[in-house]
Symmetry: C2
Subunit: 151 residues, 2 copies
């Protein structure tokens, strides 16, 4: 690919700092909005929607941790909180007694449903809605290229 050395040039810097700024801005707004309107911090939302998209609304703790990009211990605590709120349940994995599965409850699905609208609105308002269809496609290509290569 770009086989350069030395300091980042202007374009590289812009690409990096732009992502930092946008990420910080959108995530802050999203978290505030979801917390205020639905008592659901962004991390929690992320767990719920990840479970929602999983077969039978369930996932092993370790798989869930990977998908939401949280450390094992971090996930244990987050799941604890969500379980207290009855949004998810932990069930022993019948095929491996060391393992737990996190399962979305009915009220978890309800809460997710309510929150989803705010979630999508914020993201569109601050991010995707500001791009042309062309740019949206470009961005898709960019992420897939960057993320595909392992490392």
């Amino acid at each position: 690919m770009n086989q350069k050395g030395g300091p980042l040039d202007e374009e590289e810097l812009a690409a990096w700092q732009g992502m930092l700024s946008l990420h910080a801005r959108v995530l802050r707004d999203l978290d505030k909005d979801l917390t205020a309107r639905h008592h659901l911090p962004v991390r929690s939302f992320d767990v719920l929607i990840t479970l929602f998209n999983a077969p039978e609304y369930r996932l092993r703790m370790s798989d869930l941790a990977n998908r939401v990009m949280l450390s094992p211990s971090g996930l244990t605590r987050l799941v604890e909180r969500l379980e207290r709120d009855r949004l998810i349940e932990r069930q022993v994995d019948t095929s491996d007694a060391r393992s737990f599965q996190a399962v979305l409850t009915d009220s978890g699905r309800e809460r997710l449903d309510e929150a989803r609208e705010s979630h999508d609105a914020v993201i569109r308002d601050r991010f995707t809605g500001r791009l042309s269809p062309e740019q949206l496609r470009q961005l898709g290509a960019i992420w897939s290229r960057v993320l595909t290569e392992e490392g």
Copy 2:
């Protein structure tokens, strides 16, 4: 712009989730690398380089907080740590006695210089170096469009 309503479509979702993934991945690696090699967490690096780019290597606390996207109290604590390590100093602002200026010290500049190479290398390795020149330009255009509009 895109005057849509309803849930995010596939492309919007990909644009959002791609950013989340990449951000998490690069930031984690960057933080580990800078901490391991230079005892300098990314946040600290960010403060140092922001000061480096400021006139006379100095900035008021509140301005600094805005640029590094940290809460006022968060910055107070971070600056405390950096001051303990003699990487920056706090000086009273002669024109406003409520205010402090954070100033990069000589050893702060040295440390920054050492760390910069790792910093740039990680970003290029994980991100900008994986893009074509074309895509790098597109990304610049995307960020500037998204970030320019206030809100």
